[in-house]
């Protein structure tokens, strides 16, 4: 069970998002509401084009919704400009991307340090914090490795270290296991679960990957820009499993 209703860190109410203009406009989101508290791990599932990434962009204060309200750590974002939203992201949100988005020329440690560089952290402190973050995701042995020298799972763990190094209250992960094999994917999901339960981060993960279900507290199902329901992973599995088949998203 989540405790979002009691003390939400991230709250979105009746979000609508219209992309494009005129006859070509598309309602990417239609009245989506999400609430996320410290320690929650929320999984958003749905087919391609259901509005998952748009929801993630809006919750991450990267896109502004056409209608509705997003509150981050109690702050309404509706009247914030791009720079204020960027500052909000810096202070409260860590991102994990599907294709890792590591800087290819930087070592693992430098990639993590870069996250602190945008926060004007002192070089020495940034280095220590980066090493600590990489240690926490089990990558102490990869400090000097370039992304191309690491496996996909290791790269994604570097991305997680980069997301958590500034101690954000919220982690938003976009298909974090999509490019990973079974073992690497499980490792990444364990890390996200650990962040929620041990570090008390509010974690929201968008995924097609059924492997993520056991790690989530709650599953939001999306289709056509709407959140159809919020279920526990067990409920989701029951409602989406045809007898004789394995669960799939």
């Amino acid at each position: 069970m989540t405790n979002a209703a009691a003390n939400p860190v991230l709250q979105a109410e009746r979000i609508e998002m219209v992309l494009g203009e005129g006859a070509r406009s598309v309602n990417a989101l239609r009245g989506a509401s999400v609430s996320l508290a410290a320690g929650d791990l929320l999984l958003v599932m749905g087919p391609s084009g259901s509005g998952k990434s748009t929801l993630l962009s809006i919750l991450g204060c990267i896109l502004k919704p056409t209608r509705g309200e997003v509150r981050v750590a109690g702050q309404a974002t509706v009247n914030m400009d791009a720079e204020a939203l960027a500052e909000l992201r810096r202070r409260y949100i860590g991102f994990v991307f599907q294709s890792y988005n590591l800087f290819p020329g930087l070592t693992a440690r430098e990639n993590v340090e870069a996250s602190l560089a945008i926060r004007s952290c002192r070089a020495k402190d940034a280095r220590e914090a980066a090493e600590k973050a990489l240690h926490s995701v089990g990558l102490s042995h990869c400090l000097q490795s370039l992304p191309r020298q690491m496996s996909g799972g290791e790269q994604q763990r570097v991305a997680i270290a980069r997301a958590i190094v500034a101690n954000p209250k919220i982690i938003l992960a976009d298909e974090p296991t999509a490019a990973l094999d079974g073992e690497s994917g499980r490792g990444v999901l364990q890390q996200l679960r650990r962040l929620a339960k041990q570090e008390r981060c509010a974690v929201l993960m968008v995924s097609h990957d059924a492997r993520a279900l056991p790690f989530a507290d709650q599953v939001l199902s999306m289709a056509d820009g709407q959140i159809l329901n919020a279920q526990t992973p067990s409920e989701y599995l029951l409602s989406n499993t045809v007898p004789g088949e394995h669960a799939h998203a």
């Binding site: 962009s57 991450g60 896109l63 991307f97 988005n101 340090e113």
Partner: protein, 375 residues
């Protein structure tokens, strides 16, 4: 960390980085060569005036350039000599003559004759012989870079000028004429003989002032006393010379236009190279923006990348310019690459770097951070 991010972003793809640096380097070499040509011509055009020992010049009215002389009236030297503040009047004879090569054939030369006892326009960059060697009858000085054109190239060689013997008594290296006619230095009397001029006539009078004399006041006195001439400072004579060759001739205008175009093209190529390089890293910048980076941080990274590319390009340009200098020296090309030009180039590169930073930073500021998410 900003510098590290910028540097490693660039060197991560060495081929692209080198291509950018090479583009910038070539642009800067292009600008250097063209500006070097302009400065070189400016120096060549004014070389005689710059190396002459004159506090003031008395020139026939309407003189357009040093290389385009006419004769002063005979009595003017004496009239000028008695003006208070004048220490000495040093006549100079300048004129075109036909130079006959010992092996046959001829070419046009510019004879410059001055009194070897009073330094006026002595040859410089002497490579063989002594200045007093020019006091001997029929002695002349030539520049070795013109040896093929003159048919002589070393001391003792003999040619013929307007039917008179001309014996090479001194050689120089690097005294080039703006026209196709080489300079030939000789004594005043010998020059008059070559040019078949009356012994009392001069093309110009170089004025040497008495110690402590006020140049402006002496100039006014000379102008008052000699109404049919012009009295010019060396700077004015130089400017008139440059104006004549650069602004009144097709070659000069072509050179100026070529220089302007080269600077423009070089600047555009350089800015474009920098802009494209920075633009190639949009994905990285979008990631930074999504992570919450401020525009200021992104601009710093962009500026740093532009600076690094500019420095690398500038270093390549310096190497290229060394090659140009070597070729210029070997072929006696009038390309002057001076420390001033290098500093100018440095300033230009910095300016282009700033321009590219602004252009790229504006683009980066508009990068869509949402593009980092899977669609």
């Amino acid at each position: 960390m900003i510098a590290t991010i910028a540097f490693k972003n660039l060197v991560h793809e060495p081929a692209r980085f080198l291509a950018t640096a090479a583009g910038i380097g070539l642009s800067l070499v292009l600008v250097t060569v063209q500006l070097g040509l302009l400065f070189g011509f400016d120096r060549t055009i004014s070389a005689i005036i710059d190396n002459a020992k004159a506090d003031l010049w008395i020139v026939p009215k309407g003189t357009a350039a040093f290389d385009d002389p006419s004769f002063l009236e005979t009595n003017q030297k004496y009239a000028a000599a008695v003006v208070p503040g004048v220490r000495r009047i040093k006549p100079l004879v300048v004129g075109f003559a036909e130079w006959r090569k010992p092996a046959g054939g001829s070419t046009s030369v510019i004879i410059i004759g001055s009194d070897p006892r009073h330094a006026t326009v002595d040859p410089w960059n002497v490579s063989s012989g002594q200045l007093h060697d020019l006091r001997a009858p029929d002695a002349v000085a030539i520049d070795v870079s013109y040896a093929p054109q003159l048919g002589v190239g070393k001391r003792g060689d003999i040619a013929n000028v307007e039917g008179l013997h001309a014996r090479v008594a001194l050689t120089t290296n690097g005294i080039r004429s703006f026209t196709t006619s080489p300079y030939v230095f000789t004594a005043l009397s010998q020059a008059r003989a070559f040019l078949n001029a009356d012994p009392s006539r001069s093309s110009y009078l170089a004025v040497e002032l008495a110690q402590g004399a006020d140049a402006q006041r002496v100039r006014e006195r000379l102008a008052g006393k000699l109404p049919t001439v012009e009295v010019l400072t060396p700077a004015e004579f130089r400017a008139r010379n440059v104006e004549r060759w650069l602004l009144d001739t097709g070659a000069g205008i072509a050179l100026l236009t070529g220089t302007a175009i080269a600077v423009l093209v070089g600047a555009v190529i350089m800015t474009q190279s920098l802009y494209t390089t920075v633009n190639d890293y949009r994905r990285e910048f979008a990631t930074f923006r999504a992570m919450g980076s401020s525009k200021g941080f992104l601009t710093s990274v962009v500026a740093c990348q532009a600076g690094i590319c500019t420095l690398a390009g500038f270093a390549l340009a310096l190497l290229g310019n060394l090659a140009v200098m070597a070729i210029s020296a070997a072929w006696s090309l009038p390309i002057e690459i001076s420390p001033t030009l290098i500093l100018t180039l440095c300033g230009l590169a910095a300016l282009m770097s700033v321009a590219a930073t602004f252009a790229a930073a504006a683009k980066v500021a508009r990068v869509d951070p949402a593009s980092v998410f899977a669609q």
